[in-house]
């Protein structure tokens, strides 16, 4: 038998714990690549269908009309919407955490000298990875069909950065919802927020064109500001106001849901 003395029978450092737990969850993603497809498909579908339907109206042909809000390139206008849709894949964090609670993996970790923060943080890191992967793929698709950022290539990274923050907001929400409900459905409910968040917003036209209740509701939907910030970067260049508003909306959402997740995590890892 390999003999372990008492010193060796210790525990890994926090960074190593986090690394091992994250690696395991990444393996799960890599070995089940098809679970990525639904979100990716929906986001790509939105991109292609809306470009196909609306490009003639709001694209190059709109030049000189009041509808020329995309400055001749409708892909630039609709791509942020698809990227926001892809960033909802961050909600997978909560789902994978709940899978671990349901399968008993979570409890096994609790019996080991592992930091509870590492247990909660690992799925969030993997969620972040998925957000970047999915948003990045949609962005690449957008570029393939003609998206061009007014801010140059750096603008793409800025868009990804905002998508990342937004995705982490969903990650926090799904983790909290998952822990509190203790079921996969609870975590999946996060994705039900997806439709109202995406469509009670200036989805196809600028906010000025919305009317009635939708105009009011969109004003209170943080998604609005996230989409507008990305559009600003794509169409108008480095204009401070929309970008700042977008960062504040995405940042606040992420801070609120992540704190909520951490508070829930404390409860989940406490002994009953």
């Amino acid at each position: 038998m390999t003999s372990l003395n008492n010193q060796e029978r210790g525990a890994a450092s926090f960074a190593l714990q986090l690394g091992i737990l994250t690696q395991r969850l990444l393996l799960r993603v890599v070995r089940r690549p098809y679970t990525e497809l639904p979100t990716l498909f929906v986001s790509a579908f939105f991109l292609f269908v809306y470009v196909g339907q609306l490009d003639r109206v709001f694209g190059g042909d709109a030049f000189g009309t009041p509808f020329d809000f995309s400055k001749g390139n409708f892909v630039n206008f609709i791509l942020p919407f698809s990227i926001v849709s892809a960033s909802i894949s961050g909600a997978s964090s909560g789902i994978s955490l709940v899978e671990d609670i349901e399968s008993g993996v979570f409890r096994r970790y609790q019996a080991m000298p592992i930091s509870r923060w590492a247990i909660i943080l690992a799925p969030m890191i993997v969620g972040a990875f998925r957000v970047l992967l999915q948003a990045g793929l949609i962005l690449a698709l957008g570029v393939l069909i003609g998206a061009q950022a007014a801010t140059g290539p750096l603008g793409f990274f800025a868009v990804l950065g905002i998508a990342f923050m937004w995705g982490m907001g969903f990650a926090g929400y799904s983790v909290a919802a998952g822990i509190r409900s203790g079921s996969a459905q609870g975590a999946q409910a996060a994705t039900f927020l997806f439709f109202p968040a995406l469509f009670i917003a200036p989805t196809f036209v600028p906010r000025e064109s919305l009317s009635g209740w939708l105009a009011t509701a969109a004003k209170f939907n943080p998604t609005t500001y996230v989409i507008e910030a990305m559009r600003g970067i794509m169409i108008d260049g480095w204009v401070a106001e929309p970008i700042a508003k977008g960062l504040i909306a995405a940042g606040l959402f992420a801070v609120i849901t992540l704190s909520f997740a951490l508070i829930s995590a404390r409860r989940a890892t406490e002994k009953s």
């Binding site: 210790g10 008993g104 979570f106």
Partner: protein
């Protein structure tokens, strides 16, 4: 030779101290453990009062039917559940106050196995070893060693999804052994396994015992407790109703157990009316008597006079079954019956 009272006194005192006075460190000591769950508006007393102690190197069996509170006891002893009352110590470490120290010397294999089936057996062992603080090389060696130990070397590179129930339990056992625990807790390690897989697991438990590991296992199977355990606690409705070595428990029911079999349950019931203190189980009637061979002919006469036909009769020394029946009023299914049933299902 001259009588030396002093010397004798010393020897007696010495023996006394050695036997009773020397500090004997217990591997596990549970004192009046209780656990009350709050389920919606109701309070459920899963564990009412459980006390027992386990000497180092023993295999200790906790026997009881489903819902007796066995799993809750294991969870409390393994620091995974907070006790409502009472206390528990593992090698003198309080499971509440010295939680993290206690965790390092215990290994746990719970009922819900908690194995990520998308990973391979080797990956699971390796990452567990790394989490326990082994370096890459140690972790690699340990993983290979444990795979060999539980006979999964050839399956090590396969995803756990493809493992049979017995293989998963063996992997689970290996995972609980990664950090070489001094005390191992196994919650129903063989439930649902076929007899061959059960035997493999038993052998492993014996091997661990001979390596000096203290093992606490719960089971619903009497034959398992009888075969494996040095001492047994029978838990019923959250309390220890009987405790001792298998032989002590059997001896606690003195005399013989006589079993009559009848063609119909109705006959068994009628026969039971003639024999006070007997129990009927389907077409069988059981009774514990001081002297079986003497009792059987007498009762035959009684049955014949009442027109009850006996199909078969047997007399045997009490088994754990009988002990269980007498302390809980329940009969446990045997492992074979249960396995057959689960196969049918």
């Amino acid at each position: 030779m001259e009588f030396q009272p002093n010397c004798v006194r010393k020897t007696i005192l010495g023996t006394f101290l050695y036997t009773y006075g020397a500090p004997r460190l217990l591997a596990v000591e549970a004192k009046h453990l209780s656990k009350t769950y709050r389920a919606k508006q109701e309070l459920v007393e899963a564990v009412k009062d459980v006390s027992f102690s386990v000497a180092p190197g023993q295999i200790y069996g906790i026997l009881g039917p489903n819902g007796a509170g066995k799993s809750s006891v294991i969870l409390m002893l393994t620091t995974l559940l907070r006790a409502t009352g009472g206390s528990a110590r593992i090698f003198d470490l309080d499971v509440e106050r010295d939680e993290s120290k206690a965790r390092k010397i215990i290994g746990v294999a719970l009922q819900e196995t908690g194995i990520d089936e998308i990973l391979t057996g080797w990956e699971l062992l390796y990452s567990t070893a790394r989490l326990w603080g082994l370096n890459q090389k140690q972790a690699r060696l340990r993983s290979e060693e444990l795979l060999r130990l539980v006979g999964l070397t050839s399956a090590g590179q396969r995803r756990v999804k493809s493992y049979s129930g017995g293989m998963k339990r063996r992997l689970d056992l290996a995972l609980s052994l990664v950090h070489q625990p001094k005390v191992l807790f196994l919650d129903e390690p063989t439930t649902g396994l076929d007899p061959a897989s059960r035997r493999v697991l038993w052998d492993e438990v014996f091997r661990l015992k001979s390596a000096g590991v203290t093992i606490i296992l719960t089971t619903q199977y009497l034959d398992e407790a009888d075969e494996l355990a040095d001492r047994i606690a029978i838990i019923h409705e959250g309390r220890v109703v009987s405790e001792g070595t298998p032989d002590e428990l059997k001896a606690s029911i003195s005399g013989d157990v006589v079993t009559f079999s009848f063609a119909h349950p109705e006959l068994a019931r009628r026969a039971a009316e003639l024999l006070p203190n007997s129990e009927t189980l389907d077409t069988d009637l059981r009774i514990t008597v001081p002297n079986g061979p003497q009792f059987i002919p007498e009762s035959f006469v009684q049955f014949r006079d009442s027109g009850i036909d006996v199909s078969a009769v047997s007399s045997s020394k009490p088994t754990l079954d009988d002990v269980f029946l007498s302390v809980t009023g329940f009969k446990l299914e045997s492992a074979e019956e249960r396995t057959e049933k689960s196969f049918r299902e």
